[in-house]
């Protein structure tokens, strides 16, 4: 609790570091290839056809 209170001002930094870690894990799990594959084809659901 004390740690959290004293570091509250830098919570954004912890959040950013968690984000970078998550992106690292995402890269290792090949999740960005899946995002890319979805994004480079016309998404029929998004345009209300599929």
């Amino acid at each position: 609790m004390h740690f959290w209170k004293s570091n509250r001002r830098f919570a954004w930094l912890w959040g950013t570091l968690i984000g970078i870690t998550f992106i690292g894990i995402g890269i290792m799990q090949n999740q960005f290839a899946l995002i890319w594959r979805k994004a480079v084809m016309i998404c029929m659901e998004c345009i209300g056809i599929g």
Partner: protein
């Protein structure tokens, strides 16, 4: 401040949707930038989009066979949210820009909020949980899971993706069916409502706003209040387009950090800053100031 925000919104929208070839030929960009997500709600099927939509990316990962934590999309949410919070909604979202522009159209009895705002504001959390998350994991179309939010609700996809693509691509035009008209109806309803109510989609339905709102309390970018100089005239509260009180400005999940309160403050005691967490203390209106 208003002009600056409009310029930033326009530049960011043009920059992130700058693939002009796509608009001319009814095709979409297929380069490497699409490995990354933009911060705002920007359909990746927009012919001009050079990067991915974060909600679309989240759903694509949730649509995988079995369940895997969507670390790739969550990473972007944590980074954008921790740095900007809902500043993204106010300054960097293309669909927010469209609603801002529509709200400038003169109309009698404009409103900041819809009636029953205190209940309706939870709609965006319901959309996030039931359509984006649960819907994407359990709804099936044929043998594949479907991105339920994109398919049944997202007006950004209809406006930036469907309309320009279908206008320029004849083979897509021939496939239009009931679903397209359902989404077109939702888009028009939201756009028309935007003329009367300030950003109804952002306030009540946007799952991205629900996510970034959670970061508002501790994001790097905040609006600071210097209490010593404040004369409690509450000009900031009057200027707030989403009707927040001074104690809610910046830290409330509803604050989109548009900066109107900053511009309205005659004493200059509200300002943008990047110093991390700061909670504004409750201030009562000064009875001597009308």
């Amino acid at each position: 401040m208003k002009k600056l925000r409009l310029i930033v919104q326009l530049i960011f929208t043009i920059f992130t949707n700058g693939y002009a070839y796509g608009f001319l030929n009814g095709k979409i960009y297929q380069g490497s930038f699409k490995y990354a997500c933009v911060p705002g709600l920007n359909c990746y099927s927009c012919p001009g989009a050079i990067a991915s939509c974060p909600i679309g990316a989240l759903q694509a990962l949730l649509n995988q066979r079995g369940f895997k934590i969507p670390f790739g999309a969550l990473g972007f949410f944590f980074i954008f949210g921790s740095i900007f919070g809902r500043f993204v909604c106010g300054w960097l979202c293309p669909f927010g820009l469209v609603q801002d522009l529509l709200h400038k159209i003169p109309f009698p009895n404009k409103r900041k909020r819809l009636p029953m705002h205190n209940i309706l504001k939870y709609g965006k959390y319901a959309v996030l949980i039931f359509l984006v998350c649960i819907g994407s994991m359990i709804l099936f179309g044929g043998f594949a899971k479907i991105p339920a939010f994109c398919k049944y609700l997202c007006p950004s996809g209809t406006l930036f993706g469907a309309i320009p693509l279908i206008s320029a691509n004849e083979s897509l035009r021939s496939q239009i069916g009931g679903l397209f008209f359902w989404k077109l109806g939702i888009l028009f309803f939201i756009l028309i409502l935007s003329i009367k109510v300030y950003r109804p989609f952002c306030q009540y339905l946007c799952p991205l706003g629900a996510i970034y709102g959670w970061f508002n309390r501790f994001s790097l970018v905040q609006i600071y209040h210097e209490k010593e100089q404040c004369i409690s005239c509450m000009a900031c509260e009057k200027a707030c387009p989403v009707a927040l009180s001074l104690s809610e400005i910046s830290t409330s999940p509803e604050c989109i950090r548009c900066g109107r309160c900053v511009a309205a403050c005659g004493k200059g005691c509200l300002h943008f800053s990047g110093r991390g967490n700061f909670v504004i203390e409750k201030v009562e209106k000064n009875p001597d100031i009308r």
